[in-house]
């Protein structure tokens, strides 16, 4: 509703209706009460976001105070009493590596899916196909993990890791014994998991590109692909970047599936020096160790500290993605 006629309504009902119909004045309170109630509910989102940052920082404070900046740069991770040392660097790098693999593999596939659904597919299969792809997003993460451990892991080992280590094993990033529980498997399962998010937003962005863009390209003699590339993709660039960042956000925070296939290395061994090695991401470290952490040690606080880094990364990524998508929407490209 427009602001203008909202005020109009209030005036009308306050002045006109109460006097004419002699409605009890309690109903005025009803309006105020209801508005207050909805405002309280809406404000809860702001409270949650604020508390989220404050509380997680509070939980992490002991370890931040004790280790300071070296919490970000140290490789050691030792919860044994008396020898406690915590550094989050290997897991930060692990998250970066798996997310990079997810984007490198997942984004081209998502773009292909989006282009196929928005530009190429006959209208009869468009709706059912996008429906099926969206189902991928509905499958719980832990079931991806189960499938990852007992099925996908062996595909990765036999089809990718064994050939890589046989023929390219002399290159450090492909060294190591192929087990299928590795940084690579973690990244690839993330690639699968970001496809529905990225392709859905991309498709939405592509569908919103005005058809004059395509017609102009065709009238210059472009082939279908050239029309898509010149007329559609370059026009929709900002929205596509937003979709990719959204995918990155999902990859960074995804927990269970990665936890189950990445091999769970700890300390300096968790540095992602080779794609075929066991690794660890920030989220998988927290999921793995949280229940084993001794509450009187610094261990829980260290895990919460890793969670704080994760929170800040997710916050930056998601705010950037939302701002980009908002800007595209404001321009009228989406919806």
């Amino acid at each position: 509703m427009e602001k203008g006629d909202k005020e109009g309504d209030t005036n009308l009902s306050e002045v006109g209706a109460t006097r004419l119909l002699h409605l009890p004045s309690i109903s005025l309170k009803g309006d105020t009460l209801f508005l207050a109630l909805t405002i309280a509910a809406a404000t809860s989102i702001i409270v949650i976001m604020a508390l989220l940052i404050i509380k997680i920082y509070e939980g992490a404070a002991p370890v931040f105070n004790r280790f300071g900046f070296s919490f970000l740069t140290s490789l050691e991770w030792n919860p044994v009493e008396g020898m406690e040392a915590y550094g989050a660097l290997p897991y930060l790098l692990g998250t970066l590596t798996t997310s990079a693999i997810a984007l490198i593999v997942g984004v081209p596939i998502s773009l292909g899916v989006a282009i196929f659904l928005a530009e190429i597919a006959p209208s009869s299969i468009r709706a059912p196909l996008s429906y099926v792809i969206e189902l991928l997003a509905a499958v719980p993460s832990v079931i991806y993990g189960l499938w990852g451990v007992f099925v996908f892991r062996f595909w990765v080992r036999d089809l990718i890791e064994v050939p890589l280590s046989t023929y390219l094993g002399f290159i450090p990033i492909f060294s190591g014994t192929p087990y299928g529980l590795s940084v690579l498997t973690g990244g690839l399962i993330l690639a699968i998991m970001i496809i529905p998010t990225v392709s859905a937003v991309c498709r939405e962005v592509l569908l919103a590109v005005p058809s004059t863009q395509r017609e102009a390209a065709y009238s210059l003699g472009a082939t279908r692909w050239e029309a898509i590339r010149i007329g559609v993709l370059s026009y929709a660039r900002a929205g596509i970047v937003g979709a990719i960042i959204l995918g990155l956000g999902r990859a960074v925070g995804e927990t269970m599936a990665v936890t189950m296939v990445i091999g769970n290395a700890v300390g300096p061994a968790a540095l992602p020096t080779s794609l075929l090695k066991a690794g660890q991401t920030m989220a998988s470290l927290i999921a793995n160790e949280f229940n084993e952490a001794d509450p009187v040690s610094l261990h829980p606080s260290a895990l919460i500290g890793v969670g704080f880094i994760l929170l800040i990364s997710a916050l930056i990524i998601n705010v950037a993605a939302q701002l980009l998508i908002y800007r595209v929407r404001a321009k009228g490209v989406v919806e």
């Binding site: 109903s27 292909g112 991806y144 949280f290």
Partner: protein
């Protein structure tokens, strides 16, 4: 430049790219098909009356089931809906009816950011906020975490469906002398009901499969529910623990539990999306 060969190259490029997009679609669908097939083939043999009605047996020995996990999942869904649905619907109403102001824009933006927040971060938040305060893992903590995950989804679908109610309805009701709150509660919300209901179903299908936030809030348990302040089990947690056990029977039980979970989640999801399609003429994007 514009020779015959050049044209052939361009035409070839076109065909190649079009073929690649089809390959991309096939690559995207393979995992879904494989997951569904494996869950059914490996999960079905595990399903039995005993499996569905008894709690886990002794670790390392075949037998026992996932009844307490199913129970826990439904308790968590119920409790988190109790918290998340009223707040989410009211906030959604605010955004749709009164939200054209700075507060509305801030809430909408933060709600979108919260929707993308990793669920494990929300788990840690509730651990510090509730578990540490109460000194124990509990379904209450789990429900608070899951309701925070529900909230942005319910808000978004409520706002969208309330916005779709034609202004004529509001104006007609106001012209009859009804108060704003009466108009909203008795006219607008009932008209938007199906959209709100599907939003809630989508939110439930999302939280039913959440695992990470449960690790640090409800912990998991071998027993049935006893109190709101004792750890309970949930299907996703049980799947995770079973998959980590080094026993063949446990893996089979894991697949059985996955079959039950995926049946719950996908049924809710598909029904909700079909309903939105009927009520909106299009599907709501989450």
């Amino acid at each position: 430049m514009w020779s015959e060969t050049n044209y052939k190259i361009r035409k070839f490029k076109e065909r190649l790219i079009l073929a690649l997009t089809v390959v991309a679609v096939i690559l995207a669908i393979i995992p879904l098909l494989s997951i569904l097939i494996e869950v059914v083939i490996r999960g079905l043999p595990a399903i039995s009356i005993e499996f569905l009605t008894s709690p886990p047996g002794i670790i390392g020995q075949p037998g026992g089931g996932i009844a307490n996990a199913i129970q826990g999942t439904f308790i968590l869904i119920g409790l988190s809906s109790l918290i998340g649905v009223p707040i989410g619907v009211l906030a959604g109403i605010y955004l749709a009816e009164f939200g054209n102001n700075p507060l509305g824009r801030v809430v909408r933006f933060l709600s979108d950011v919260l929707m993308q927040m990793p669920s494990i971060v929300i788990g840690i938040f509730v651990y510090v906020l509730v578990v540490l305060a109460l000194g124990r893992f509990s379904p209450i903590a789990g429900a608070i975490a899951l309701s925070i995950i529900m909230l942005p989804i319910v808000i978004k679908t409520t706002e969208e469906s309330v916005r779709l109610v034609p202004n004529l309805l509001r104006e007609g009701a106001l012209a009859l002398g009804l108060r704003r709150w009466r108009v909203i509660l008795s006219i607008v919300v009932p008209a938007a009901k199906s959209g709100v209901v599907t939003g809630v179903m989508l939110a439930i299908s999302r939280i039913a499969g959440e695992t990470a936030p449960l690790i640090m809030t409800v912990l998991g348990s071998q027993w049935f529910f006893t109190s709101l302040f004792e750890p309970i089990d949930a299907l996703p947690l049980r799947i995770w623990r079973l998959a980590l056990l080094p026993y063949e029977y446990a893996h089979q039980q894991g697949w059985g539990a996955a079959l039950v979970l995926i049946a719950i989640v996908l049924t809710l999801n598909v029904v909700a999306k079909t309903l939105t399609k009927i009520s909106f003429g299009r599907r709501v994007k989450i």
